[in-house]
Chain length 131, copies 2
DNA sequence: TTTTAATCGGACTATATTAGTCTTAGAACT
DNA sequence: AGTTCTAAGACTAATATAGTCCGATTAAAA
C-alpha cells in the first residue's frame, strides 16, 4: 500500500516537537508521549534510533532527555525515515540481504532502481524545517 | 521500509510482457508465470485486478488470455500500483476508513499529505512505455 | 455437442512485517 | 542512596502480504 510506518509517523511528530524547543532545551520521552498520546515504550525506541543515527543527542540521568544534534534545515526526511525504518528500497533486489529468485528473467529491475533513486532524491529535498 | 509489494513487482513484469506482444495478441497467465517463474495463482489474481481496472482486457475461454486495453504510453505507474495494491497513502489519516486517534494533536498531517500528493504526481509521470 | 483451456471470484492458509510491551542495566542529578 | 532518565534486547500481539485452492463461468476447438 506504500505507506510510512507508524514509527516514522511518530518519529516525525516527536522530532518536530524537539526542534520546536530550541537548541539547548532537553525534552524527555515521557513528556512527548503524553503530549501527543503516543505509546511511551515505542516512542522511546524511536528516539533511541534517532539518537543512534546522530539526528538528536541524548542526555542521560535525571532531568535528561533529548535535544537536536543538527539544525532542522539539515535533517532530511530521507534521513529520518531511514534511521527509523531502515533504507528505502522499492524492490527486494536493491537490498544486499535478499536475493530475488526471478532476477535472471527480470526485465524491470533497472527501471525500478532508477525510480527508487529519484524517490530518495525527492525525500532528500524535504527537511525538518519544512515540516 | 517503504517498498512496492511483490504483487506490484510481478504485475509490472507481466504488463511489460503483455505490452511487448503487440495490440491484438493475447497472452495467457500460465505462459507468463512460466516464462518469469512467478506463482501462477497469484499472477492470475494480479492480472484480474489489472483487468478490472481497465488496464488490460481479458478474453475468456480456450485460447483466451490478456491484451492491453490502453496504449503503454497512457498507463502510469501510479495507476498500476493503485489497481494492484490499492491507493498510495503515506499516512493512515489520508484514508477514509482509518481514523487516527492522535489526529487532534497531530502537527504533521498537512505536511505529509502534501508530500503524498507530490509522490503521486511523480508516479504519474512514469508510464509503461518508460518501463 | 462435448471437451478443453482459459478467466473470475471468493475463501482460505502461511509467512513476514509492523506495532507494542516488558525487563534489566547504566548514567547523571539531588 | 534514591530517583529519574536513556539504552538495549527479548518478547508478544496485531496486521498486512504472499500464496493456495476450488467451484463457477465463458468461449474456442475438437
Ligand atoms: S523481480 Fe526484478 S525488480 Fe523485482 S525484486 Fe526481483 S529482480 Fe528486483
Ligand atoms: S499521526 Fe498525524 S499524520 Fe499520522 S496518521 Fe495520525 S493524523 Fe495522520
Amino acid at each position: 500500500m506504500l505507506r510510512f510506518s507508524k514509527k516514522s509517523d511518530y518519529g516525525l511528530i516527536a522530532l518536530k516537537h524537539i526542534a520546536s524547543q530550541g537548541e539547548d532545551n532537553v525534552v524527555n520521552a515521557r513528556e512527548i508521549s503524553e503530549k501527543y498520546n503516543l505509546p511511551p515504550d515505542l516512542l522511546a525506541k524511536i528516539l533511541q534510533s534517532l539518537s543512534k543515527s546522530g539526528i538528536i543527542k541524548s542526555q542521560f540521568g535525571s532531568g535528561g532527555g533529548y535535544r537536536m544534534a543538527k539544525k532542522p534545515s539539515e535533517v532530511t526526511l530521507k534521513e529520518i525515515v531511514q534511521s527509523i525504518d531502515g533504507p528505502v528500497h522499492l524492490v527486494g533486489c536493491s537490498r544486499e540481504d535478499t536475493d530475488c529468485s526471478i532476477e535472471p528473467q527480470c526485465t524491470i529491475k533497472q527501471m525500478l532502481l532508477n525510480v527508487e533513486q529519484k524517490l530518495e532524491a525527492f525525500f532528500s529535498t524535504i527537511t525538518l524545517k519544512d515540516i
